[in-house]
Amino acid sequence: MSANIVTIRSLSKIYQQGDINVTALDKISLDIASGEFLSLMGPSGSGKSTLLHIIAGIDRPTKGECRVQGIDVAKLNESQLADWRNQNVGFVFQTFNLIPVLTAYENVELPLLLTRMNRAERRKQVETALEIVGLADRAKHLPKQLSGGQEQRVAIARALVTDPALVVADEPTGNLDSHSAQEVLGVLRTLSHDAGKTVIMVTHDPKAAAFGSRQIHLEKGELSK
């Protein structure tokens, strides 16, 4: 482990629902070290996904500070955030969210279309990413031709193809059977252990959380452990 990649101080997120203010996160302070595999646990509505979204730069806090690699993410404008996410964050979602009309290769290549890489450079990156997740031989398959576990591994390949420092995974095993879940969690752990990526995973499942190097719990918007 090395220096902190994520530093969160007094972070609050309050949603307005009609006349009612709903506090999703209440003055959270948290440090996440570079290369760490952090499992974020908690019941539904505890604010774990909200915290993940703020760290990943797809949501903004109401109060407090969230620095990722020293950058106060909330202070970036929309366009800067988009560039920042493309270069620094890889996303893995519960429902895979691959583009159905694109092959596994093309899905993984998608984030690289926004970079200045030429076709050959992109190919090298995509092939490497697919090899890491063990799906080099499925490159030409469409999502519908893959199993759930394979789809999620393609999504992981898409998340790491730009070589981000941070990979965020929101319930990545929620839609998978136990065998596929083990495979996916194994890949995420490898990313953290072997490739030095910081992985932040939201999960309900204690077995999945156990793959992380650290577990933290959220309850009603507050860190409980």
């Binding site: 366009s79 009309v101 093309e106 998608l110 279309l113």
Partner: protein
């Protein structure tokens, strides 16, 4: 993969919907182009050099009022006139069983009219002589001859609708190559004889010496007959036809109205289809945003898709109209109602401009929705 191929794959992801969208644009633009061509053909007379040289002289009071036949001697003395002939619209019903006059019959002086019909081909000198010699004979346009299966030597019967007399004419020759190959021309003398020599003609048809001389000639004629018992209005053949065209005003409005409705309906359909296509993809657009696509890049994806579909529709619809109307015999298909059915570059331009507008408008609503929705909101639509 590159962005264009990504756009193409997105556009074709629901092939049936893409096909139906393209076809709806294509059919509507085909209809729009067809209406525009029809409007043009109905309201724009053929503008050849001859129509500027040829002059029609009619009664200043009304076209329905005849002119005195004695005006011919005066017209003959007006400088700048190469030829002048009586030109009386008979307007009879062929065979007597047709419900409307399906082609025009004009009573003229064959000898005097020769310079005016010099562009007519297919009539031999012998046939012209025979026509001149026999006052009950006529020459007939090839389109009408083909339509009714008539040939030289056949007889045609007409029931008068304007004049109180019927005609029986023998075809002396069949012509083609004029601006309107539907008309029949017969002897004014024969009409006069049947009417008891009333000493009148419908109009005068004359040929000016040159295009430069034509306006001077019309001016001279109008001045010559000013303050006489039968004042006249002389005008070029083109101006005369345009006078009729002005009576098409309601048709113009009607066709214009239909065109607007077509375009409006098309916009509604395309906007709705495109909105539906994008709404179904909100989750994907949210993911694209999450992985780094900016608003403007998503706008480009949406705009290119809707623009591409609309333009492809225009290519099929307007391009199809151009190919079709350039390769069919419209005269034959419409029994001579339309002599030409030309899709002009302006009409193609209009169709593609409408398609471009369509592509733009149908992308606006989805673009606004995509701009409004945050990644988190988009992701919430997933689960």
């Amino acid at each position: 993969m590159n962005l264009p191929s990504f756009i193409l794959k997105n556009a074709l992801r629901n092939k049936r919907r893409a096909l139906l969208s393209v076809l709806s644009v294509a059919m509507s633009l085909f209809l729009l182009v067809t209406l525009q061509v029809a409007l043009r053909e109905l309201t724009n007379p053929i503008n050849d050099e001859g129509s500027s040289l040829r002059i029609i002289v009619r009664n200043k009071v009304s076209l329905a009022q005849p002119l005195p036949a004695r005006q011919l001697q005066t017209l003959d003395r007006i400088p700048g006139i190469v030829a002048v002939t009586p030109f009386s619209f008979y307007g009879g019903l062929y065979k007597g069983d047709e419900k409307f006059t399906s082609f025009a019959q004009f009573a003229i002086d064959p000898q005097r009219a020769l310079p005016l019909i010099s562009d007519a081909k297919g009539v031999t000198k012998e046939q012209l002589d025979a026509w001149s010699a026999d006052r009950t004979s006529c020459i007939l346009g090839k389109m009408t001859a083909d339509r009714y299966g008539l040939k030289v030597g056949d007889r045609m019967q007409f029931t008068g609708q304007i004049y109180p007399c019927d005609l029986e004419l023998k075809i002396a020759g069949i012509y083609y190559g004029t601006a309107d190959d539907r008309n029949l021309m017969f002897h004014q003398k024969y009409l006069d004889e049947l009417l008891g020599n009333p000493g009148t003609v419908g109009t005068w048809w004359l040929l000016a010496a040159s295009i430069a001389e034509a306006p001077l000639v019309t001016d001279r004629i109008n001045k010559t007959f000013a303050n006489t018992s039968a004042e006249v209005r002389a005008e070029s053949e083109r101006a005369f036809v345009l006078g009729f065209v002005s009576m098409w005003a309601n048709i113009k409005t009607l066709i214009g109205g239909i065109s607007i409705v077509v375009v409006f309906a098309l916009i509604l359909v395309t906007v709705s289809t495109m909105s539906m296509a994008i709404r179904e993809r909100f989750r994907e657009l949210a993911i694209l945003k999450a992985i780094g696509f900016k608003r403007r890049e998503l706008f480009v994806l949406i705009l290119a898709e809707s623009f591409g579909l609309a333009m492809f529709g225009a290519l099929i619809g307007a391009g199809g109209a151009w190919v079709l109307f350039n390769n069919i015999n419209i005269q034959k298909m419409t029994s001579g109602m339309f002599l030409m059915f030309e899709v002009t570059p302006q009409m193609l331009g209009l169709a593609f401009a409408v398609a471009a507008l369509l592509g733009l408008l149908s992308a606006v609503l989805p673009m606004i929705n995509v701009a409004r929705i945050s990644v988190v909101q988009g992701l919430k639509t997933l689960d």
